[in-house]
Amino acid sequence: MVVDVLLAIGVTLELLCVTGVVVMPTTFDRLHYSAAATTVPAFFVLAAVLWREHLSSGGLEAIAAVGLMFLLNPILLTATARAARRQDDAT
């Protein structure tokens, strides 16, 4: 039951981020939603996995996967925002 709730919240928020990327008018607005996808929704899915796996090797690898996304994605988003700004300045 707890797993179902955690997964439902995580998937709903993730699809909300997808909707935001599709609907928003500018690149920077889209980046906000793309960034959000690696934070709260991913941690809900991770929590659901950990509820089942606890701190087994699978659980630790799940923590590594979500942790890498959470820590590395801001670098990628900053680089993408710079590229977008460069393109906007060029046009």
Binding site: V3, D4, L7, A8, G10, V11, E14, L15, C17, V18, T19, V21, V22, T27, R30, L31, Y33, S34, A37, T38, P41, A42, V45, L46, A48, V49, R52, E53, S56, S57, G58, E61, A62, A64, A65, V66, L68, M69, L72, N73, I75, L76, L77, A79, T80, R82, A83, A84, R86, Q87
Partner: protein, 83 residues
Amino acid sequence: MNAFETAATALMCGYLPLGVVAVRRRAIDGLVALELAGTLTVLVLLCLAEGFHRSFEYGVAVVAAVFSWVGGLVITRFLSRWL
């Protein structure tokens, strides 16, 4: 079909609208969609690993997290220099 398999299927539904963004919008918007697709892929792999009870598949999710990040950076550099 357990909850994790259902969640993976629901997450995979997100690929379609992101593909539409990648095809129809500017290249930089397509890159943003691609980055989000990478995030979705990692979560789908996690859900499938748990859903199918195959612990070795968690390693695939870790590798996907690293390589989607590296791939995104490479494409970002390409877009900022040559487009």
